[in-house]
């Protein structure tokens, strides 16, 4: 999957949850959205992107959410 397109989508999702004053709730919101609406290959691609390139292109909240997603999906 095209990582850039997924980065844009992740940033859009994070923009919505960024209004949430509690950071943990905001991160959970983004992560839950990934898990409920994104096919596994999309999640894998984004996680792989972060592992390879860090936050490159991602907003701060989106980046934090992908890192949390990576933990959850690796069973951590």
């Amino acid at each position: 999957m095209n990582a850039q397109r997924l980065i844009d989508m992740a940033n859009d999702i994070a923009d919505f949850f960024a209004a949430e004053p509690e950071r943990a709730v905001a991160i959970d919101g983004v992560v839950n959205h990934f898990r409920r609406f994104w096919a596994p290959r999309m999640r894998r691609t984004l996680v792989a992107h972060v592992r390879a390139h860090g936050a490159d292109g991602l907003s701060e909240l989106a980046h934090a959410a992908v890192r949390r997603l990576a933990e959850l999906e690796s069973g951590a």
Partner: protein, 946 residues
């Protein structure tokens, strides 16, 4: 004329609960107070002759045929305008009455063409004359008459013959009272009285919108469908449901053998109550258009000619290809698309095929590109992905807030109901960049038009909520009783922040703050307030956020859970609601239950006999991305034209071109079929049984009136494909599919074809607690329990104007055409709209040297196309607008990949563009025209089966 199967009771029913007892022809009759004598008699089975009266219209009392005698009353009152009274004694038959009626009828016939009466169409005029025994005219035809009056045949669907007109005004009143267009009038006085359209213009050139209400109302045949004149009177009538917009009008398809004579809106229809529009009533010719492909075809490569094959070979080939591709590229390399143009049973089967036979959740539907944000936003806030009301709810509404919808064009029958309520005094707020018809049209004037900039819905909705909360106009008791305290408190703090005020948001929306404040006060304090919205809300980068913000407005003002209020998404296609209900989204089973829900998944696994994936599948745009990456190789598309309807056409077609097997099941060789390897002929709604679910959650029957022209209904084709894939399906009739849906979907538990036949239609949820369905949702509590508020921060779209792309393009549809135009382009509706044009404000046109009718290039970051310019001040400077009904227009070559954050619904409504005068079609259009020629050649030279 009325349907061959319907009886007409003469005047509308009375809503009164009190009854009155009277005597008619010696029989005691009990009817609601306010009922006319004419209707009371009809209800008692006593027919009184009439011409100017119909139950569709208020009584008028002009034809002087329905005269009766009332004990103690002098003279012979018209029964249509005489209300019943307790103890009234009425005689409908007497020698004097017969004499009077025969005399009146004879006068009518003295200026009526005898051959028209003998034509045998069964008009009311014909039947009344026969009932009165008037066969001769004593006066002859030598005097002044109208028999030579010119026939107006300008309208493609009906003709007006003034010689047959008795000036009863039923047509004029139908246009006024039912349709609300006020296009007809009576010109002249006395003998010179004549029905005319607009200022005595041909119907086609007039303001007439061809809804056909006048044709249906006409009792004499003066206004008559050309199809009826050409085919002759029908011999049978079948009740079915329209296949156009989300209003879901009920029709009687009147048939003569296998031939459709005409479509007559069904008076008993719960959504439309006997009304229709130019599409549903008249634009049916596509179903028998010669463009329909009726033989299955296959080809190895998309550059090959098509090869006509048997159904067996086509199905076997498609199944073998799906299996080959899954074996080579993996189980997740294939998927399917369901269609909102198909029935619930068909969409259910396609998603079942994908989940059970393909073994993944890569199923999506065209609602992805229209109302997917509605599903998401309403589920999050209210707990159910559906509108909250029935259309009739508008009758109890005091304030209508219409945002991002243009009902007079896109949902015309609802628009007529809305206009009726507005004429009764309901107030109207319109939020739309364009000055749509409802802002100002005959007898309708919006209280507020908020012409917001495209892309700023959330900013406007937040500022409306800001006013309501900060000015303490909200319903604190409702919120305390019905909504989550925590989420409301958090939202209240957010919405009260000054950055959400109309004054702060004015810079974004372009709407004066004072207007926003006044509109908010009206919505919050004007009585029953209802929100109606359309794709102008959902098709944005913040589509889902806007839907949530709309739900917030309804909750915070307590405008939900009863008649006259609520949140009303106007669905674009006939079965958008149904296709979503049926589990067409990749993350949900039927009934909007997530695939990760173990208990739900187990119920489907048990019923379907297979293991099912707990992971969401790919959405349509994700499928395209995966295809371009070489991971997605095959797609089964039922009744959807991705290559025309989806945004960024070149991106879509590039993705389709990478696939190894695209199976298109459709009526026509559509744009997507250029990239197809298998073509499976589809069946029109006239050729199959099933159900559609309209915008008000109303499930209505679709009934076959003719055999499938290609041999199979669409559900049968899906079933054959599933069987060929090795997954058994053995339904004998769509009723059995609905029975399975009902067993597996709690909100459909009480639905069956038998129950639908009994009740006419059912609004889900329908279960043991609601055996007749649910007209109004969230009455005592929300489906999710407590209503939820979310923080709807306004985030500007990334699609910004700049020096290179200084204008915003927004798109929409027009009354006479429908979506990608596959149906309406193949009807006489092209007489009103034969090309998509670019509406541009005169100021923007002048600064670019553009004149009306010039060819202009429209360039965006995604691509460019060429359209003819239409100078128009319906939209503000800086905004341009086009429709998307013709593939050659390339409207979606220009739209971008930007999409709603939650659902990937494309942001069709906001594209930054520049417009310039040009001399030739765009490169894309030239390539498209060449491709169309080649495609046509490949079809024309298709090889027949050996």
């Amino acid at each position: 004329m009325l349907s061959i199967k319907e009886t007409d009771l003469g005047t509308p029913s009375s809503p009164a609960a009190q009854t009155v007892t009277l005597t008619i022809d010696g029989r005691e009759v009990v009817v609601p107070e306010g009922t006319s004598v004419l209707r009371a008699a009809a209800l008692a089975g006593i027919e009184i002759p009439k011409l100017c009266a119909t139950e569709l219209l208020e009584p008028f009392g002009s034809c002087r045929l329905c005269l009766v005698e009332v004990e103690g009353v002098k003279g012979y009152p018209a029964s249509c305008t005489t209300p019943v009274a307790a103890g009234m004694r009425v005689a409908t038959r007497s020698a004097k009455l017969e004499q009077l009626r025969r005399g009146v009828m004879e006068l009518y016939l003295s200026d009526h063409p005898p051959q028209a009466l003998a034509a045998g169409f069964g008009t009311e005029m014909e039947r009344v004359a026969a009932a009165l025994g008037v066969t001769q005219v004593r006066y002859g035809f030598d005097g002044r008459h109208h028999l030579d009056a010119a026939i107006d045949a300008s309208n493609p669907y009906f003709r007006f013959d003034p010689a047959q007109c008795v000036v009863c005004s039923r047509c004029v009143r139908a246009c006024d009272e039912i349709q609300g267009t006020f296009a007809l009038t009576i010109r002249g006085r006395g003998f010179d009285s004549m029905v005319v359209a607009s200022a005595d213009e041909p119907f086609l050139a007039s303001e007439c919108v061809s809804c056909g209400a006048c044709v249906q109302a006409c009792p004499t045949g003066a206004l008559m469908e050309k199809s009826l004149l050409e085919t002759g009177q029908a011999t049978r009538s079948v009740v079915t449901t329209c296949a156009y917009c989300g209003v879901g009008c009920s029709f009687r398809a009147e048939m003569r053998g296998e031939e459709l004579v005409r479509m007559v809106p069904n008076k008993e229809g719960h959504a439309n109550h006997g009304h229709a529009c130019v599409k549903g009533r008249f634009a049916i010719g596509y179903a028998t258009h010669p463009d329909r492909v009726l033989t299955p075809m296959i080809r190895a490569k998309i550059t090959d000619r098509w090869r006509e094959v048997s159904w067996d070979e086509a199905i076997a080939h498609a199944a073998a290809e799906f299996k080959r591709i899954q074996a080579r590229y993996g189980r997740d390399a294939v998927g399917g698309i369901t269609s909102s143009r198909c029935t619930n049973e068909e969409t259910y089967l396609v998603q079942k095929l994908v989940r059970a036979a393909f073994g993944n959740n890569n199923v999506d539907t065209c609602a992805r590109v229209c109302h997917s944000p509605t599903g998401y936003g309403l589920k999050q806030t209210l707990g159910e992905s559906a509108g909250t009301q029935r259309f009739d709810s508008i009758r109890h509404c005091d304030v209508v807030f219409l945002i991002g919808a243009n009902p007079t064009d896109a949902h015309p029958v609802f628009a007529s109901q809305l206009k009726q309520r507005l004429r009764q005094g309901a107030r109207l707020i319109v939020a739309d960049p364009r000055r749509i018809d409802l802002v100002r049209c005959p007898h309708v004037q919006a209280d507020f038009h908020l012409p917001l900039r495209p892309g700023t819905n959330v900013a406007l909705l937040n500022s409306l909520a800001h006013v309501i909360v900060t000015e303490n106009l909200y319903d604190a008791a409702f919120v305390a009783a019905r909504c989550e305290a925590d989420s409301f408190a958090k939202w209240k703090k957010f919405i009260c922040e000054p950055r959400n005020s109309p004054e702060a948001m004015q810079a974004e929306t372009g709407v004066p703050a004072a207007q926003v404040r006044a509109a908010a006060r009206l919505y919050a304090t004007g009585g029953n307030a209802a929100i109606y919205y359309g794709l102008g809300v959902s098709e944005h980068a913040q589509g889902s956020t806007a839907v949530m913000a709309i739900a917030h407005l309804a909750m915070v003002t307590g405008n939900i859970g009863r008649e006259g209020v609520g949140v009303n998404p106007l669905r674009g296609q006939n079965n958008v609601q149904g296709s979503c209900d049926m589990g067409s989204f990749p993350h949900e089973f039927p009934g909007y239950r997530h695939v990760s829900d173990d208990a739900v998944r187990r119920s489907f696994e048990q019923a379907w006999g297979v293991r099912l994936s707990a992971e969401p599948g790919l959405r349509i745009p994700n499928m395209f991305e995966a295809a371009l990456d070489g991971e997605f190789k095959a797609l089964y598309i039922q009744g959807e034209d991705l290559a025309q309807s989806d945004p960024d056409t070149q991106h879509v077609t590039a993705a389709l071109a990478t696939m190894e097997c695209v199976v298109v099941q459709d009526l026509f060789l559509n744009e997507t079929a250029r990239f197809a390897h298998v073509f499976l002929p589809g069946a029109s709604f006239l050729e199959k049984d099933g159900t559609f679910t309209n915008a008000e959650r109303r499930i209505s029957r679709v009934r076959a009136v003719m055999r499938p022209k290609a041999g199979y209904a669409d559900w049968e084709v899906t079933q054959r494909l599933a069987n060929a894939l090795g997954y058994p399906m053995h339904y004998a009739h769509p009723a059995e599919i609905m029975d399975e849906i009902a067993r597996l979907t709690p909100t459909f538990a009480g639905v069956s074809f038998a129950r639908l036949d009994e009740l006419g239609s059912i609004q889900w949820p329908c279960d043991a607690a609601h055996p007749h369905g649910t007209p109004t949702m969230h009455v005592d509590e929300f489906v999710r329990g407590k209503g939820r508020f979310l923080l709807t921060e306004y985030v500007p779209t990334r699609e910004r104007v700049n020096a290179k792309y200084p204008l915003i393009l927004t798109t929409g549809r027009i009354l006479s055409q429908y979506n990608v135009g596959a149906q309406t382009r193949r009807t006489a509706n092209v007489v009103w709209h034969d090309e998509d044009r670019l509406d541009i404000h005169p100021h923007d046109a002048e600064s670019r040297g553009i004149r009306d009718g010039d060819w202009v290039g429209v360039a965006s970051r995604a691509g460019d196309t060429v359209l003819r310019a239409h100078l128009c001040d319906r939209l503000p400077p800086g905004v341009v607008y086009t429709t998307f009904h013709f593939p050659g227009s390339g409207a979606n070559v220009v739209t971008t990949e930007n999409s709603d954050w939650a659902t990937n619904c494309p942001e069709y409504k906001v594209t930054a563009v520049e417009v310039t005068r040009v001399g030739q079609p765009s490169e894309w259009q030239q390539r498209h025209a060449a491709s169309e020629r080649r495609s046509r050649e490949r079809l024309d030279h298709a090889t027949a089966p050996k």
